[in-house]
Every structure is written in structure tokens, then in C-alpha cells.
């Protein structure tokens, strides 16, 4: 086993039934970050995601049954923490995140000392087109999170995130299971961890469908809102400054 170095980085790609996109995602990451290990976490796909990812040159962590996004990402965080990686960047397996932005996130992780770096679609102030309900949800959560986090967050639903070893340690023990992005921010804030947003591009989905439909957006808002307040109320887990 090769011991990770001080600046060791692992890129994780959670994927569920993404055979059409995951190979391209892995190759794009390898082109943007040559020599950086890529770990695809296969959330028990029923298609050829596992073999396509392997053929593209990724390591594959195969879950024995479908856990959902949070359980899938947390499995990757646990493995990365066990292997001693200093940094982990998550790139979604559907090809919407631009691998060319990974170096920016990695650089921000190393230089800012923040425990989390969010690849943000909105940090420059321009809101790219999205569905009405989703846009409304993002605006709503910006307002809800502003007083909780103590600073504005432009893209709280972004899954394009990098985390440090300190955040890995926290997430390998406690990570939201459904729709984890927003709750994860609150989990980190409870421990006085810091985050920063860097501008990133987002490609339209070319294959498959988003799991968050218009109807599920309502469920998403209620679920995440409840999760946020439950995490806010977990006083015992706050870290002293």
C-alpha cells in the first residue's frame, strides 16, 4: 500500500446507473489531474457502471446494496480517511461537473486552510438557468443558511466539493444520508469549520435523469429544512473555538 503524501488527494465519484457518463467522467478527471487516483463508488447499479469505470482506469468501491447518495459518498469518505488521504474532492458521476475545475478546488483546499471548498455555479453573481422550483429552493436555502453559517453561501446544493482531512474525520462518522449537501454545511459549521466557494462551470446533463423532479423538490425542501434544524439543535456536537 502506497502511503499518501502530505498533499495526497483522492477524487471520488459517486455513481448510480451512470454507465453512459461515468467512463467519460473518469477520463476527464485523469486528463485534468494526471496521476491522481480516482475512486468510483458504485451504489449497486443495475447497469454496467462498475465495469465501465474500471475499464476507464478508476478504482471501484462496490456497495452491496443501494444506499442512496449520502451513504454512497460517506463510504468514499470512510475509505479515504482510513487510507490517510489529506484531501478528497467529490465529482458527480453524471458528467455535470467540469473536471477542468478540479485544480482550482484543490488549490483552494491547500492554500485557504478551509475544511471545505464548494465548486459554485453562482459565485460570480450570474445565476445559470435552472427549473423554477429548483431556483426557488436555492434562493430559499441561501436565506435560511445565511444566519446559521454566519456568512452567505451562493450555491448550497452543489455536489462539487472538496474536503480536508479534518472534515473527512467528521463525515466518516456522521454524514446526512439523503440530499446531503446542505446538511453537511451545517454539520461542519457546528464544529466551527470554515468553507469557501470557488467559481465552477456546470454542464447540462447529457444522459439519465435527475432524481429531483418538480414534485420531489417540495419533499426535498421539507426534508432538508428539517435536517438543518435538527443539526442546529445538536448542541452537544459543537466544537469549542
Amino acid at each position: 500500500m502506497t502511503p499518501p503524501t502530505d498533499d495526497s488527494l483522492l477524487i471520488i465519484v459517486p455513481a448510480y446507473n451512470e454507465e453512459a457518463a461515468v467512463g467519460g467522467v473518469v477520463r476527464d478527471i485523469q486528463a485534468a489531474m494526471p496521476g491522481t487516483p480516482v475512486l468510483v463508488i458504485d451504489d449497486c447499479s443495475v447497469d454496467a457502471t462498475h465495469s465501465v469505470a474500471r475499464a476507464a482506469g478508476a478504482r471501484v468501491l462496490a456497495l452491496p446494496h443501494h444506499l442512496g447518495l449520502g451513504g454512497c459518498v460517506q463510504a468514499g469518505y470512510k475509505l479515504a480517511f482510513e487510507l490517510g488521504y489529506r484531501y478528497v474532492i467529490r465529482v458527480d458521476g453524471d458528467g455535470q461537473h467540469d473536471a477542468g475545475d478540479i485544480p482550482k478546488i484543490f488549490e483552494a483546499l491547500r492554500t485557504t486552510g478551509c475544511e471545505m471548498v464548494i465548486g459554485s455555479r453562482y459565485v460570480d453573481g450570474d445565476d445559470p438557468p435552472t427549473s423554477f422550483v429548483r431556483g426557488l429552493g436555492i434562493h430559499f436555502f441561501r436565506m435560511v443558511l445565511r444566519p446559521i453559517l454566519g456568512k452567505p453561501v451562493r450555491d448550497p446544493t452543489s455536489g462539487f466539493v472538496g474536503v480536508s482531512q479534518a472534515a473527512l474525520q467528521v463525515f466518516s462518522k456522521s454524514f446526512p444520508l439523503e440530499y446531503p449537501e446542505i446538511e453537511a454545511l451545517v454539520v461542519l459549521q457546528r464544529r466551527r469549520f470554515r468553507f469557501v466557494e470557488v467559481p465552477c462551470r456546470m454542464h447540462p446533463r447529457t444522459t439519465g435523469r435527475s432524481s429531483i423532479t418538480a414534485f420531489r423538490s417540495i419533499y426535498y425542501i421539507v426534508h432538508v429544512l428539517l435536517g438543518v434544524f435538527v443539526n442546529v439543535l445538536k448542541f452537544d456536537q459543537r466544537r469549542k473555538p
Binding site: M1, T2, L10, P37, V38, L39, R59, L61, A62, L63, P64, H65, L67, G71, Q74, A75, K78, L79, E82, L83, L177
Partner: protein, 119 residues
């Protein structure tokens, strides 16, 4: 009123029987059958004890005693649903942790067997 109480007696008797058969066939673990058996026994006693039911209705300010029985049923089952929600949540957490651990161990095992170099 008598007809409703008789129906409740039959219902609670059938519930008791179902739970006991399920425990015997190991479809329900003994520790999870206790709540059901207690609930069914409470229903059986209340539906057969008119005096107890009327006293309960009087204390609750209900003019129609069978309503007290329905209220008790509702409360008992709500408490049981809550208890089972707690149990299911814990089982789900344990299940996820086990699935993740299994996947990670398989990953390490493949590396030990001479798969690709470690990530």
C-alpha cells in the same frame, strides 16, 4: 355500544392469536411481540369491562364510553408506531454502516489478492 365492544373483543382476540402464532413461527422476535401482546390484552380487558370503560370515559369527559376505547387504541398504537420508528431508524443506520464496512473490506481484500495498486 355492545356490538362495537363485541367487535373490539373479537379484534383484540384475533390480534393476540396472530401475534402468538407469529412468535411461535419466529416471524416476530419475542422482544418485539411484547408491545403487541400488551396492546391486545389492554383492548381485550377494556372491551370486556364496562365499568372500567365508563370510568375512563367519565375521566376523559366523554359521553359515549366506546369513544374512550377508541382513544386508548389510538394512543397505544401511536406509541407503538413511534417505538418501531426508533427501532427501524437504528436498524437502517446499522445496515448502512455494515454495507459500507463490507464494501471497504472487499476493496482491501481485492488489493491484497493482487488487484490494481491502491487508490
Amino acid at each position: 355500544m355492545d356490538r362495537l365492544l363485541n367487535v373490539m373483543t373479537i379484534f383484540s382476540g384475533v390480534l393476540l392469536l396472530f401475534v402468538l402464532i407469529s412468535v411461535r413461527r419466529a416471524h416476530i422476535r419475542v422482544e418485539y411481540s411484547v408491545s403487541w401482546l400488551l396492546a391486545a390484552a389492554a383492548l381485550l380487558i377494556l372491551s370486556r369491562s364496562r365499568g372500567m370503560l365508563e370510568a375512563a370515559a367519565h375521566r376523559l369527559g366523554l359521553s359515549y364510553p366506546p369513544l374512550a376505547l377508541l382513544l386508548v387504541i389510538g394512543c397505544v398504537f401511536l406509541l407503538m408506531f413511534y417505538r418501531f420508528s426508533v427501532i427501524i431508524s437504528k436498524l437502517r443506520d446499522d445496515n448502512i454502516a455494515l454495507a459500507q464496512r463490507l464494501a471497504i473490506l472487499e476493496y482491501h481484500l481485492q488489493n491484497l489478492r493482487g488487484g490494481r495498486p491502491n487508490a
